[in-house]
C-alpha cells in the first residue's frame, strides 16, 4: 500500500496532508517537499493537516519539529490542524514536542489564520514600500 503525502500550494501557503500511518520515507518526504516548495515559490506558511493521522511516533514528531524550525528560519509559520484526540493523548504521554508550531482545530481555521498571516505580511510590504 503506497501512502503518499498530498502537497498543495494555495496562494502563498503550502498545505501538506499526511496519510493515516506514514512509513519513515513518507514522513521524511514531508520535510523534503516542504523545503523544495519554499525554495521554488514564495511560501509564507506551512499548514500540516494531520486529520487522517492515527499514529504519531517520535520520528514523526521530530520531523515535524525540524521542518517547522526550517520554516521559521525562512520567515514563515507552521500551523498544525486536526490532530485526533487519541494521537494528542499519546503524544502527551510520549512527551514529544512539535516545536515552533501552532495548533488549530480544523483546516478551515488554519486557512483563515494563514490568510491573515499573508495579509499582515503584504501590509508590511506595502508600508515599507511607501
Amino acid at each position: 500500500m503506497i501512502e503518499g503525502i498530498a502537497v498543495l500550494k494555495l496562494r502563498d501557503v503550502l498545505l501538506v496532508t499526511m496519510p493515516a500511518d506514514p512509513d519513515d520515507s513518507t514522513v521524511s518526504a514531508l520535510q523534503s517537499r516542504t523545503l523544495d516548495a519554499m525554495e521554488q515559490h514564495d511560501v509564507k506558511g506551512l499548514i500540516l493537516d494531520l486529520s487522517k493521522v492515527e499514529i504519531l511516533d517520535s520520528y514523526f514528531a521530530r520531523t515535524v519539529a525540524e521542518t517547522a524550525k526550517m520554516v521559521t528560519l525562512m520567515g514563515g509559520e507552521t500551523l498544525i490542524a486536526g490532530m485526533r484526540p487519541s494521537v494528542a493523548i499519546t503524544a502527551t504521554e510520549l512527551n514529544v514536542t512539535l516545536g515552533a508550531t501552532r495548533t488549530v482545530l480544523t483546516l478551515d481555521r488554519a486557512l483563515d489564520l494563514a490568510g491573515n498571516i499573508s495579509r499582515k505580511k503584504s501590509v508590511q510590504k506595502t508600508r515599507s514600500a511607501l
Partner: protein, 291 residues
C-alpha cells in the same frame, strides 16, 4: 435410651451403635447427595478423588466413573496445577486443618466458573489423617453481580466528571475531587472528544471543587492542558484561589500552557475574548471577500 445390665446392654448398645453408625452414614450419604448447591467430594491423602456426588457432576460435568482415582487438580486452571498451587492447597489443609479459596475452576468442557472451595483435612477418631473433604460452591452469579457493580461504579466515575457545553465554542469541566491516573485518562478522552466534535476552541476547566493540588493532580492537569493544545484548543483554568496558587508556586509547577484565573467568572470573560477573536477573524474574511 434406657440403660440395662452391663454385659448385654453394652453388647446391645454396641450393636445398636454400629447400626446407628451405619444408618448415620446412610443418612449422611442421602444428605450429601441431595444438596445441589454444594459439590461435596472426598479425596484420599494424595488428593485423588474417592467419592463423587450428583451436585459435583452437575457443577463440574464429569460423571463418577470419569473422575474416580483422578487428582482433584483437574478442576483447577492448568497454570495453577502446573505452578504447584493445588499441592500447596492440600499442604495448607493438612497444616491448618482447613484451606479456603475463591477463584476460577474448570469444568469438563473447558468452561470456567468462579468458585468458593473449602478443603478440610479429615482425621480419624484416633487422629490418623485419612484424606480430605472438598466442598465447592458455584459463585458465578455473585461474580456476575460484582462485575455489574464494577461497571456501574465506572459509570458513576464517568458521571462524576461532568463536561458541559456552556456556549458555542466553550466546553466547561467543573472538576470535583482529585485526579488520579484513571480519572485523568477518562477526562482527557472525553474532553478532547467533545472539543473536536463541537469544534470548540476553549476548554474551561474549573478547579474550585478540587480541595488541594498535589504533585500528582498538577501533573495530570498539565497533561490534560498539553493534550487540549495539541488538538488545537486552549485551556482556561479557573478556581485558582490563593491557597492553590501558593501550592503551585511552592511545588514549582508550570501551568503556562493555560490561561489561569481565580474565579469562574473571570475565566468566562477570557473564554469569550478567545471566542470573539475567532468570530472577528471569520467576519473579517467575509468583509474582505465582500469588497
Amino acid at each position: 435410651m434406657a440403660k440395662e445390665g452391663v454385659g448385654t446392654a453394652e453388647a446391645q448398645t454396641d450393636k445398636q451403635g454400629k447400626l446407628r453408625a451405619e444408618s448415620d452414614l446412610d443418612m449422611l450419604r442421602i444428605l450429601v447427595d441431595s444438596i445441589m448447591e454444594y459439590a461435596i467430594i472426598m479425596l484420599d491423602t494424595k488428593g485423588n478423588m474417592v467419592s463423587w456426588s450428583p451436585a459435583a457432576e452437575r457443577l463440574k460435568g464429569y460423571s463418577a466413573a470419569e473422575v474416580v482415582g483422578k487428582h482433584f487438580s483437574i478442576f483447577s486452571l492448568p497454570e495453577d496445577a502446573a505452578s504447584g498451587k493445588t499441592d500447596a492447597e492440600l499442604k495448607t489443609a493438612v497444616r491448618e486443618g482447613r484451606f479456603e479459596d475463591e477463584g476460577w475452576r474448570v469444568r469438563k468442557d473447558g468452561s470456567k466458573f468462579w468458585a468458593n472451595v473449602v478443603i478440610t483435612a479429615l482425621l480419624d477418631t484416633d487422629g490418623t489423617f485419612k484424606g480430605f473433604g472438598m466442598v465447592t460452591r458455584d459463585l458465578s452469579q455473585r461474580k456476575e453481580a460484582e462485575e455489574r457493580i464494577k461497571g456501574q461504579a465506572k459509570e458513576i466515575l464517568e458521571m462524576a466528571t461532568v463536561i458541559v457545553q456552556v456556549w458555542d465554542g466553550i466546553i466547561l469541566v467543573p472538576l470535583i475531587g482529585m485526579l488520579d491516573s484513571e480519572r485523568t485518562q477518562q477526562l482527557m478522552e472525553r474532553l478532547l472528544q467533545r472539543l473536536t466534535e463541537t469544534n470548540s476552541p476553549v476548554a474551561l476547566i474549573d478547579i474550585t471543587g478540587v480541595p488541594t493540588i498535589d504533585t500528582q493532580t498538577a501533573q495530570h492537569l498539565i497533561e490534560t492542558i498539553k493534550a487540549v493544545r495539541y488538538i488545537g484548543s486552549e485551556v482556561v483554568l479557573t478556581g485558582v484561589r490563593p491557597a492553590i496558587a501558593q501550592t503551585l508556586v511552592h511545588l514549582g509547577i508550570d501551568l503556562s500552557g493555560a490561561t489561569t484565573r481565580s474565579s469562574l467568572t473571570a475565566g468566562l470573560r477570557v473564554a469569550f475574548e478567545i471566542i470573539n477573536i475567532h468570530v472577528a477573524h471569520e467576519s473579517a474574511q467575509g468583509a474582505a471577500v465582500g469588497k
